[in-house]
């Protein structure tokens, strides 16, 4: 029974079905439990959260990643799966916290002050949540002071900053300076992204990584994790 639930969970991650109302790819799954319902069933069956994550969610995402690499899947498929995994992680979060099981890391993300563009930021949030990171999305037009405060209080392992405009990307440099002034720069890895920024700009202002897209962000974070290990 447990094996069935885990197999079904993995399959529904691959199908990108968050709930029973989602269509997925195979039509015959329509109306059957999705990742949210299956995660709850797994917990009701006393399946350990680690098993749910590793053999259900992560195993499913691995297949999704392979399908994306071979161009069988496209970004909307990847996001649907990531969103489903993110919803499952929301269910698991209190249990993980109660059991002192750590997530892959805490990630705060924001579009900087003066900029209200958030499509890219939102996609990155979904992908990172689906990849097992605990994401704190601060929204758009976020004042530098608030970002500094979040780094101090929430203690994220990673901070993602987004800017679409050349006029607002300069705020990223100001944030780095503010973090330094508050003695927080070495407490958090800073990643930047958005149409206005570049690898050169990332080096200029002294951040830890420039990410072209969400997939690049996952790779960068995984690289940081490996380096830490």
């Amino acid at each position: 029974m447990s094996e069935d639930i885990i197999a079904s969970l993995k399959e529904n991650v691959i199908q990108g079905r968050k709930t029973q109302d989602d269509e997925g790819i195979d039509e015959e799954l329509s109306g059957t439990p999705g990742v949210v319902e299956l995660t709850q069933s797994a917990l009701d069956d006393n399946i350990p959260p680690e098993t749910i994550i590793t053999r259900g969610l992560t195993a499913g995402m691995q297949v999704v990643g392979e399908k994306f690499t071979t161009r069988e899947y496209f970004i909307p498929d990847m996001l649907a799966s990531a969103e489903a995994v993110g919803a499952a992680m929301d269910i698991l979060k209190p249990i993980l916290e109660a059991s002192n099981i750590e997530t892959k890391g805490k990630f705060a993300i924001a579009t900087v002050k003066g900029d209200i563009h958030d499509i890219g930021k939102n996609i990155v949030s979904i992908l990172l949540k689906g990849a097992g990171y605990e994401v704190n999305d601060l929204g758009t037009d976020v004042p530098t002071e608030k970002i500094v405060e979040v780094v101090r209080e929430y203690k994220p392992d990673f901070l993602g900053l987004s800017a679409l405009l050349t006029t607002t990307m300069v705020v990223m440099g100001e944030i780095i300076e503010a973090l330094k002034e508050n003695g927080l720069r070495d407490k958090v890895k800073v990643l930047i992204g958005g149409a206005a920024v570049s690898d050169e700009y990332a080096q200029e202002i002294g951040v830890d990584a420039y990410c072209v897209d969400g997939f690049h962000a996952i790779k960068a974070l995984d690289a940081f994790q490996e380096a830490k290990a």
Binding site: D77, I119, I123
Partner: protein, 515 residues
């Protein structure tokens, strides 16, 4: 089920109804005054015996007659000409049903060029950057052969958007003569594609041989009438306003056999037709109407197609400028005239002035392909692979053109707006606006998999690289490697026994046995 082509909803029209009437009336006038010169005696006699005013202009070695065609003769012909023309195919699923009033477009190859462009991809090394290499296509023109024609038919069989096949290259092998050219071009084409095959005829003496070949393939005379797998194009008119001796005779003989035929006229604005739009339109329309009238006088009910290949002259050479914007305008006008008469139209797009595939070729081709398609011609020829104003054919270009037509066909899908769509949309918008991320991405997936989202450009490269030619070349070779549905062995054997002149090397079964 016949091929669908693409139905153009709300076709683009340049001329108003009043302007169409003006062209029509003026064409009727010039059919009577000055009339046409016929270098073909039988055509002059046919017109004369049906009430046209015919006078001999010149006797001797090259006799000709002035034929003044009265309006009522033209109107009767327009009345009796079929408003729906069926072009059959070896595979019945490739049948084309063309209705004069319905702007359903079928995309077709052709026409015959003398030059075949080979392509290869030599590697170049950047002088200032050691180790930097790129592959650049090189095109090598040479005279076309029967093997090229087979390859062309083979690839066209597998091009998704190509609905019918007109021979693309003139076969000029040493063992091809005027007496065996027709049977070889018909067999090479029919044996390598299951789509409809249309062609001109080199020698009238070969007409019955190619018709008999078609009968053997479909199973008999009645079967060929029911499924006309071949049809003909004849340039019976030489602009301005002249019936050519030999091609008019071919035209008459094809009409007698009741097979579908295109009345093709190709005046050049500036030299063989007036340079202004009204002028070339009045003339080409009169020329095509003269041909249609003759077809119905020869054999009432002959399935005839309004063929228009108008072109503007280049100002630097007075050669054809198929890439000119006006050429597309003339073609669109002709589409409108044909639709006014409810006769299916054979139109032209995609021919370019550029001599090789490249940016100029893409711009010229795509421009005319889009605008002429939008006007809704039934049979859009010249659309694949032709370069250098119809002088050369490139298989690589044909593969590139298929990608263009995939985009054009997608563009012409009707808008998906209905009560249900609106209801679904309202629900979707309300759902998404209520979420923190406000993204519609999750709704893409079912649409993406149902084919409702257009594919990226078929030959898109990675990153900033432009690999269009290399990718198209890869695709071309993939298509050439695909199997061909040849005519079956028993029928092939019969054809080789009963139809004289076909080159033995075209018998794929004998060739395989010999290997």
């Amino acid at each position: 089920m016949p091929r669908e082509g693409i139905l153009v909803h709300n076709p683009y029209e340049r001329m108003t109804g009043e302007q169409i009437q003006q062209i029509h009336q003026a064409s009727m006038q010039i059919l009577h005054d000055p009339g046409l010169i016929s270098f073909n005696r039988e055509a002059a006699e046919i017109f004369h015996s049906n009430g046209a005013e015919v006078t001999i202009v010149s006797s001797g070695d090259s006799p000709c007659w002035l034929v003044k065609i009265p309006e009522k003769l033209v109107l009767h012909a327009l009345d009796s000409a079929p408003k729906t023309v069926k072009l059959g195919a070896r595979n019945p699923e490739n049948t084309l049903i063309m209705k004069g009033e319905e702007p359903r477009v079928f995309f077709v190859s052709g026409s015959e060029t003398n030059i075949w462009l080979d392509v290869d991809f030599p590697t170049y090394v950047k002088k200032s950057g050691r180790g930097t290499e790129i592959q650049v296509p090189e095109f090598h023109p040479r005279r076309g052969t029967v093997a090229d024609l087979c390859d062309s038919a083979h690839v066209c069989e597998h091009l998704k958007t190509l609905d019918g096949y007109i021979r693309t290259v003139n076969i000029q092998d040493k063992d091809i003569t005027e007496d065996n050219k027709d049977v070889n071009k018909f067999f090479a084409s029919l044996n390598n594609t299951t789509k409809h095959f249309m062609s001109g005829l080199t020698s009238l003496k070969q007409l019955d041989n190619v018709v008999n070949m078609a009968k053997l393939i479909v199973g008999g005379e009645e079967e060929l009438k029911e499924n006309p797998i071949i049809s003909f194009i004849t340039c019976l008119i030489k602009s301005p306003l002249q019936f050519v001796e030999d091609t008019t005779q071919t035209f008459i003989e094809v009409c007698r056999r009741g097979l579908p035929i295109v009345v093709s006229s190709s005046p050049q604005a500036g030299t063989t037709a007036p340079i202004k739009e009204a002028g070339i339109m009045v003339q080409i329309n009169a020329e095509v109407l003269a041909g249609i009238t003759l077809s119905q006088l020869v054999n009432k009910g002959t399935p005839v197609i309004y063929g228009s290949v108008p072109v503007r002259a280049r100002m630097d050479t007075l050669g054809d400028s198929y890439g000119s914007v006006e050429t597309s305008q003339y073609n669109i006008d002709c589409v409108q005239m044909a639709r006014f008469y409810k006769i299916p139209n054979y139109s032209t797009s995609g021919v370019c002035d550029s001599k090789t595939p490249g940016q100029q070729a893409s711009v010229e081709r795509l421009f005319s392909d889009i605008v002429v398609t939008l006007s809704g011609p039934q049979y859009l020829h010249c659309a694949y692979g032709l370069l250098d104003c119809n002088s050369s054919f490139s298989l690589l270009q044909a593969v590139l053109d298929d990608a263009h037509f995939q985009m054009i066909k997608f563009f012409l899908r009707p808008p998906w707006i209905s009560e249900k769509e609106i209801a679904d949309t309202l629900k979707q918008i309300r759902e998404v606006v209520a979420t923190p991320q406000k993204l519609y991405i999750r709704y893409i997936r079912p649409v993406m998999r149902s084919g409702e989202i257009s594919a990226p450009y078929l030959f898109e490269g990675d990153g900033e690289s432009d690999n269009v030619f290399a990718l198209a070349y890869e695709r071309m070779n993939e298509l050439l490697a695909k199997p061909v549905e040849h005519i079956d062995p028993a029928t092939t054997s019969k054809i080789f026994q009963e139809i004289p002149g076909i080159l033995p090397r075209l018998n794929v079964y004998e060739e395989r046995r010999g290997q």
